[in-house]
Amino acid sequence: MAILKVNQVTKKFGNFTALDGINMEVQQGEVYGFIGPNGAGKTTTIRVLLGILQATSGTAQIFGRDVWNDAVDIHKQIAYVPGEVNLWSNLTGGEVIDLFVKLRGTNAKNRREELIQRFDLDPTKKCGTYSKGNRQKVALIAAFASNADLYILDEPTSGLDPLMEQVFQECVGEVKKAGKSVLLSSHILSEVEKLCDKVSIIRQGQIIESGTLQELRHLTRTRVKVETTEPIANLDQVEGIHDLKALDRGVVFHVDTDKIGAAIKHVSDFGILALESTPPTLEDLFMHHYQDERGER
């Protein structure tokens, strides 16, 4: 069942087109990664989803309801962590957490104390004295303490230390296990790779790629380093081989992921001594798209 459905959403600020026909679908129980460089439109998309900005055209629905008109009802089942957490400097972290949990309408305080401990937050301190990471913890605790159906997290870990990032990943794992959905915007690609079932890449207000990580990997190349007893002949003639380079011993090349079989078959005729293949990381994928697009312009 599609929890979140975005159809051809465009958002203009005056002459500037921030979002240009965005399409997206998040299924129940899915952790959906939303990646892209700064200023690509991640936060704008999320603000449209929250009914804070109104789409210029197109439709967006959460739980089958319109995000602009039914915002209040939708928000009863949503937990949100903004990318930049600005809090009231004269309220304490504990007060803000209680306020946020209460404002959602439902009462789920049982997890509050546990989360405060796990995230190692001092709730008696005024928000004005918190660091960026601590303000983010306040928002995260308020989000995970609420029993939501959809978690919208906008770059939630940009200020957290590695230990707290670990706790965050556990929390995402727990809500996923409970069958809840997560929309995770990020530019920390290793995090997305670890947590997400599906990924959309946004660039300049357009979704340029989306699918499971597996699907996306097929669109890119695997790096192969091989050492053989005899020099490999005619390797550059094999289809799908790129960036071939000779090393002191052996060669290194990139091969289109769907042509990897043919390449290995060709190489194996020359007596393989060592073979090392590195699958593309999300970073390769991302850079691949980013550089391609930049080259085209």
Partner: protein, 537 residues
């Protein structure tokens, strides 16, 4: 004081940077201040032609009510244009100059520090005091420039009694007031951790200076000399041209800024001397709603202003004894203000006071409503609206508080006025009359609140223009009679529709009409707010 040259490394570059950031703001302040002063000076000869009428007017200036508002009259035996200018305009212009300096000083010190911008600057090869120092330097130049332009400009007009020597002193009095408040504000900015409380302290300091002077001018010269705003009035520009207050103010400014520098060098970045304490780990039941949050955030502002209006009312009320006595002995007044049958001159004075207090009471009302906008700009509105809270409820919380604050401040200032006045008058007016007088302004104040709602709903970027509207209202209502402005100018503000209570009655139809207009504009503003994007610019 342990100030080293290294503390000021690169402060000239920073000063240029500050000027670059304020290259529009500062000229606007200067042009407005000088422009208004010059145009008032040009109008004055038409208002006060030499002759017996002017002598009578000068006589009225001796009355304590005028003294408490404008400062002591001097040169009244020959009330030429220069004397009238300095007496009627210097204090208010000085207050405006003080406000300019407070806002600019906080903007470049505690605000920048709180936002973490000073941290970036300080990571560069820049001295500890470079920022405070360059802020002060820029403001000193701005004030000197203001003093010179103002002085030369007024002097060149060549009006009766306004020679160049007097004009330069007039300008210098304003300039040195500015420098003093710049130094005092930079000092205050060292004490608090947030720009908000720094602003609060600085404006409280200015308000106290004004009040101290008002009380001092009516009886105790020492109190007036202690107040910076009282001290500069002792220059008696255009009449006696005393320069000594200028030198005292300059010396006090140097002492204050040195003290501020000292505090700045011994404290940590982003720390203050008034420390933030830990608070409760749980939110009270009261806090857990949009209304509770809005109230909690503005608690200090609201309580502070409630007390301030009470004190303001009381301090105006306390001069009624003198006013009473003065009116009884002054025959000239009877000549000047005939034709208000059945009402005493005291009632007339009360009417003016009620209007002034209502306009001052408008400040906390606007502050509470505009908080809705500053929360939006600080990106905190999304925390609330991303949860199960409708825009109507969120907007309504701030509106409700502002509407209630209107009633509270009006009741408080009326209470203050009445209680102090009844203590000092032989024949005091009744409490219900005073309360009615204060509350008569509430519908007009609500209209101005409605206009604020409209601005927030449709042109949020320009919401702060409401302050200009309030400034216009003050100008028209307060000076309208003095400058004999055309009547329609007064009808451009809701305050212009309120009758002169208690001289005239506030009718039910008028009250209802004003309330309806307020309601309509507010609802329209809400409609706009529900339909627009929430933006942080």
């Amino acid at each position: 004081m342990g100030l080293k040259g290294a503390h000021f490394t690169n402060f000239r570059t920073l000063a240029k940077f500050i000027w670059r950031r304020d290259r529009v703001r500062i000229p606007i302040w200067l042009i407005s201040l000088i422009g208004i002063t010059i145009s008032v000076a040009i109008v004055f000869p038409g208002l006060y032609p030499p002759g017996p009428e002017r002598d009578i007017l000068a006589e009225t200036m001796k009355n304590p009510a005028m003294t408490s508002m404008l400062g002591p009259g001097y040169g009244l035996h020959d009330y030429h244009i220069g004397a009238a200018m300095a007496h009627q305009m210097l204090l208010f212009t000085a207050v405006a100059v003080a406000i300019m300096n407070i806002l600019l000083a906080i903007r470049h010190t505690r605000s920048d520090e709180e936002a973490g911008r000073i941290e970036m600057i300080r990571s560069l090869p820049v001295g500890k005091l470079a920022n405070s120092g360059s802020t002060f330097l820029v403001l000193v130049f701005v004030n000197l420039f203001l003093a010179l332009l103002m002085g030369i400009g007024l002097g060149l007009l060549g009006l009766e009694g306004m020679d160049m020597a007097g004009s330069l002193l007039y300008g210098a009095a304003l300039g040195v007031t500015g420098i003093f408040f710049a130094a005092a504000t930079i000092f205050i900015a060292q004490l608090t951790e947030t720009s908000r409380s720094a602003l609060g302290f600085a404006f409280t300091f200015m308000g106290l200076s004004y009040l101290l002077r008002a009380v001092g001018d009516l009886g105790s010269e020492v109190l007036s000399l202690v107040s910076p705003l009282g001290l500069i009035l002792r220059t008696e520009a255009y009449v006696n041209n005393y320069w000594w207050p200028i030198f005292i103010m300059a010396a006090a400014s140097i002492a204050l800024i040195l003290l501020a520098f000292r505090l700045n060098t011994i404290r940590d970045l982003e720390a203050g001397f008034i420390a933030a304490r830990p608070g409760p780990s749980r939110a009270s039941r009261f806090l857990q709603s949009p209304l509770g949050l809005a109230l909690r955030l503005q608690r200090t502002t609201i309580i502070g202003w409630t007390l301030a209006t009470l004190v303001l009312g009381a301090s105006y009320g306390s001069i009624f004894g003198d006013v009473d006595a003065f009116f009884q002995t002054s025959d000239i007044f009877e000549l000047l203000l005939p034709g208000t049958e059945g009402f005493s001159l005291t009632d007339q004075f009360t009417a003016t006071l009620l209007a002034v207090m209502a306009m001052i009471g408008m400040i906390p009302v606007l502050l509470t409503m505009l908080k809705l906008r500053s929360e939006e700009q600080a990106n905190r509105t999304e925390h609330i609206l991303a949860r199960a809270v409708s825009r109507r409820r969120f907007f309504g919380s701030y509106l409700l508080i502002a509407a209630l604050v209107t009633i509270v401040v009006q009741v408080m200032s009326a209470l203050g006025l009445w209680s102090a006045a009844s203590a000092v008058m032989s024949d005091p007016f009744s409490l219900s009359l005073t309360l009615k007088g204060g509350l008569a302004y509430v519908p007009a104040m609500w209209i101005m609140l409605g206009v604020t709602a409209l601005l927030i709903g449709f042109v949020p970027k320009f919401a702060n223009l409401i302050w200009a509207y309030l400034g216009y209202t003050f100008f028209v209502i307060y000076f309208g009679g003095l400058f004999q402005l055309p009547a329609w100018l007064g009808k451009l503000t809701p305050f212009g529709y309120v009758p002169d209570v208690p001289l005239e009655k506030m009718g039910v139809p008028l009250t209802m009409t004003l309330i309806l207009v307020a309601l309509a504009s507010t609802l329209l503003g809400l409609k706009g707010y529900e339909k627009r994007d929430i933006v942080d610019v």
